[in-house]
């Protein structure tokens, strides 16, 4: 597919699982970050086509990173998906407002994530 994806999630097990599902689906260029600062830096360095952000991150949130990236760079590229693993943090309206392109649940089979990716890149 040739598209580069940046994954930002502080849970190393989740990262492994999602990476595996992504590469099974044919997305082989995957970079990852485990925190907000690392995520923003890599977004700049790696110039991914799509960024996937977990809602809950140490000291920050996927929403904050999304907002920062949209303000710094481009309002339409890269595409951004915000992903939530917790029922407490479900806020899709906020996701849209900070400029995310889509919002989905983090599941053990990554089905909603893969569907969202298909629609964007």
């Amino acid at each position: 597919m040739g598209k580069k994806i940046l994954l930002v999630d502080d849970n190393s097990v989740d990262l492994l699982i999602i990476k595996r599902h992504l590469s099974h689906a044919g997305y082989n260029e995957i970079v990852s970050a485990s925190g907000a600062d690392e995520g923003i830096k890599k977004a700049e360095l790696e110039r991914p086509d799509l960024i996937i952000l977990d809602t809950l991150l140490p000291g920050s949130s996927g929403f904050e990173i999304c907002q920062t990236i949209r303000e710094k760079y481009n309002q339409t590229n890269p595409k951004i998906i915000i992903m939530t693993g917790s029922v407490d943090a479900v806020d899709a309206v906020k996701a849209r407002k900070v400029g995310a392109d889509d919002y989905c649940a983090k599941t053990s089979d990554s089905v909603p994530l893969l569907e969202a990716i298909k629609k964007l890149i």
Binding site: T84, D91, V93, C104, T107
Partner: protein, 318 residues
């Protein structure tokens, strides 16, 4: 007179009116344009909200499916754990019984006379086989209790008699340790509605525990008939438990203090099992202790009331 002859003044007036009307229309058009803009914005906001709610609902649906899935996995793992423990325990018990039998027979002289040295070594082996059997038994019980499969067969039991039987079985050991065994029982029988074997177990575990940590003095067992329940306690003049250790006393595999010095190594599960059994009977159990002075374990058991029925039955008119 005809309109053509309108005066200049009248015409100027008319133009003024038309201009005013034009200004009004302009004004209205502006208002309409800004209202249209406002509506557009509101529509966009509503679209975002609608999108947001749809996405939120979808995400919640997926997350609940995940929770359900993880729940089922946990239940499967739990059952696997219980099954494994049961199978392992049975597989351990059988060889232990055979080993014990073999050692016992040789010690009894059935297979010929044995030297004092041989007796000494075989006795040590026997003690450890028994200890291993206790560990396996305890683990099996704990797993049953945790799986909710520990069945109680309740009946009328005189706790004083029950305590006396357990104390009798400990006499040799207490004597050999140079300790005193005291009894403090109420005058009449103390009838409780309990599962006999498991309460015997509680007494055994608590007395064993007391003996483990007492070098001198006495162990006292008391049974009192209280208005609402039967209250039993096991006190000792042993080394006691520190205040910070008290909360962990009933925890699994907890062993405090210098267990290397303890006369008989325990499983670390005895108190936990005792607590579970008492709680299954809807009783209470607690401990009071002073370091280097002694410890007192107290528990309560439900009294037998005339109208207590065997589990599950409901005989009318009785």
């Amino acid at each position: 007179m005809e309109d053509k002859d309108k005066t200049k003044e009248e015409l100027i007036e008319e133009i003024k009116v038309i201009k005013a009307r034009l200004a009004n229309l302009q004004d209205l058009e502006n208002k309409y344009k800004s209202a249209e803009l406002g509506l557009k914005k509101a529509k966009e906001e509503l679209e975002i909200e609608a999108w947001g709610h749809a996405k939120t609902n979808e995400a919640i649906k997926y997350l609940y499916k995940e929770l359900d899935k993880k729940n089922k996995e946990l239940q499967t793992l739990d059952k696997l754990k219980t099954d494994f423990i049961n199978i392992a325990s049975h597989e351990l018990r059988t060889p232990l019984t055979i080993i014990r039998e073999g050692i016992s027979q040789v010690l009894d002289g059935i297979h010929g006379q044995i030297t004092p040295e041989q007796r000494e070594f075989l006795s040590i082996c026997l003690e450890d086989v028994d200890r291993l059997k206790r560990v396996v038994s305890d683990i099996l019980d704990i797993s049953k209790i945790e799986a909710g499969r520990f069945k109680l067969i309740k009946e009328q039991v005189d706790i004083v008699s029950l305590a006396k039987v357990v104390i009798a079985s400990f006499y040799p050991k207490v004597k050999s340790m140079g300790l005193e065994m005291r009894e403090n029982f109420c005058k009449q029988a103390a009838i409780a509605y309990v599962d006999k074997d498991s309460i015997i177990r509680v007494f055994i575990n608590l007395i064993s525990n007391a003996l483990k940590f007492t070098d001198k003095g006495y162990i006292e067992i008391s049974v009192r008939d209280k208005p609402t329940d039967i209250e039993c306690s096991i006190s000792d003049t042993g080394r006691g438990i520190s205040e910070e250790d008290i909360p962990q006393v009933f925890g699994k595999f907890e062993q405090f203090g210098n267990t290397e010095m303890a006369k008989e190594k325990g499983t670390g599960l005895g108190l936990s099992i005792a607590k579970s059994i008492i709680e299954l009977h809807q009783g209470d159990i607690w401990v009071k202790s002073i370091l280097n002075k002694g410890t007192k374990f107290t528990f309560t058991l439900p009294k037998y009331i005339e109208k207590d029925m065997p589990e599950g039955e409901d005989i009318p008119g009785v």
